[in-house]
Subunit: 300 residues, 2 copies
């Protein structure tokens, strides 16, 4: 079924204990769509500046991503500069954020996208996320991301958004800060009471948990020999999760669980190389091999 | 089958974001044996001082723990003072350590213990751990714990010990510091190459992984509504792991996996109350309920 992402495209300059890159392709919509495109074509709404390299456009096109919704605005592309230290690869330290054209991003949904059934709202202003949803006719499954900044500064809008959302995908640290609860279970209950149907809490290299009012699902992450760059792991997770759901068209609990596993598998690949490089060579044979390794890894 | 623990008995004074206790019953051998006693009788080698309260002795006796190996020495019992902050319940900050009689602990294995088949060497000087093993005739399965202090200061002894050990149980942070590898998989490979047959890496509230040369097993932790005191969670894990193995007398890969799950279940109970209080009321009905919840929690 049709799948849409609304989010950011960025040029990332970053350093990890394993190397660095300068103005590499990044952004939430980018990671999400490239991963989701392994499952199904993806509709894409984002903005770039005049400086955005044509080769990146060509890469996205080559991945079966529909760029009708990609706006090219006067100015420069969103740039993020950050680093990860060797103590904790789970959290980036932001050194510089230049929103550039992303600062005035007002998502315009092309007419041919309004019938989209599966929608991912990457981390943007919740008012814009609501505005996007208002433009979609009858979505079947909506997932969204958010961040502490919106939790602190746009709580009301977030409260308005959550009842329209089937799966909120956030980090463990965000869950704790948001709810003031150390226990993720207690925090999850608080967030579920705000009306969102399920909450997926990502714990980086330690796995992920999905909470609904009726059930909990927890999995570890896939152990990697050489993690290199965690940037985009969360959006790759969302891409695997939503891509799998859109492809299978099934949102039962057991299928949501398999989608979480697919998210985990794709996030593990994202981390193996800088930027989106791992996905340039990734094959379904490798994905399926890792899925069955993961099944063995966790069975008892 | 018979099960022996050699380790510490302590009186813990500690604070967590959820409360505090003063001179509460603690120590690695204590947590281990109380948990393992749910599965099988436990032989106990440790030392306490003259100040050690009789009520704790009675509690241990009531749990089917054989205290023939508990030495009562001149002086005071080992005292530990520490705290956990609300940012990270996984790691304690030690405020004060008074080894007292534990400083001169030289484990003496009672003659009736030398035929023990399952042995857990809690965190003590690796020279003493080797000395204990030399006193045991033909152990079937030996597990041990260690800590950064020994890794730094007694590396040679540790290297001599490891080939005699079937399962080394350590924390994620210890694995990283020991091996200098961020990747737990890479670190595990390094440790396995030192001759230990399996390595279990505990990641606190995020679960645990077991590595052998041939396989990896990973599970998340059980989500708790109200974690209160993580002290002793690691030794409770070891107690569940070894207790299950000793009871079933089976050390195949699939049974080791189930033992890791039992360890996880018992660690989750340990954390629910201060000191060993949770085990005073814990029933097998509750344990079995949590085991089946855990099975559901992780299945896909």
């Amino acid at each position: 079924m049709s799948l849409l992402v609304v989010g950011s495209v960025a040029l990332d300059t970053l350093k990890t204990p394993f190397g660095k890159v300068k103005k590499a392709l990044g952004g939430s919509a980018t990671y999400f769509s490239v991963v989701a495109s392994f499952f199904t074509p993806v509709r894409f709404v984002a903005v770039v500046g005049r400086d955005f390299p044509e080769k990146h456009i060509n890469f996205l096109k080559s991945r079966n991503i529909d760029l009708k919704g990609l706006e090219k605005a006067e100015g420069k592309t969103f740039q993020w500069t950050g680093e990860y230290n060797s103590e904790n690869l789970n959290e980036a330290k932001t050194i510089d954020t230049r929103l550039n054209v992303f600062a005035n991003f007002r998502p315009k949904i092309p007419r041919s996208y309004v019938d989209t059934k599966y929608v991912f709202l990457a981390n943007i202003d919740p008012d814009l996320q609501i505005n996007v949803l208002d433009q979609i006719k009858k979505p079947l499954f909506v997932a969204c991301d958010t961040m502490n900044y919106w939790i602190e500064n746009k709580k009301k809008s977030l409260m308005k958004l959550l009842p329209k959302v089937d799966a909120l995908i956030v980090n463990a640290s965000e869950t704790r800060q948001w709810t003031g609860e150390y226990s993720l279970l207690k925090g999850a209950r608080k967030i579920l009471s705000m009306g969102v149907r399920s909450l997926i809490v990502k714990c980086g290299e330690y796995g992920a948990s999905m909470f609904t009012k009726k059930s909990i699902f927890s999995i570890p992450a896939f152990h990697l020999e050489s993690p290199r760059d965690p940037t985009g792991a969360g959006d790759s997770f969302a891409g695997g999760f939503m891509g799998y759901l859109a492809k299978t068209g099934n949102t039962t609990e057991s299928n949501l669980r398999r989608a979480v596993v697919q998210g985990t598998i794709f996030a593990s690949f994202a981390v193996e190389k800088f930027s989106l490089d791992r996905f340039k060579s990734l094959t379904w044979k490798e994905v399926n091999k890792r899925y069955s390794e993961f099944k063995k890894l966790t069975s008892f």
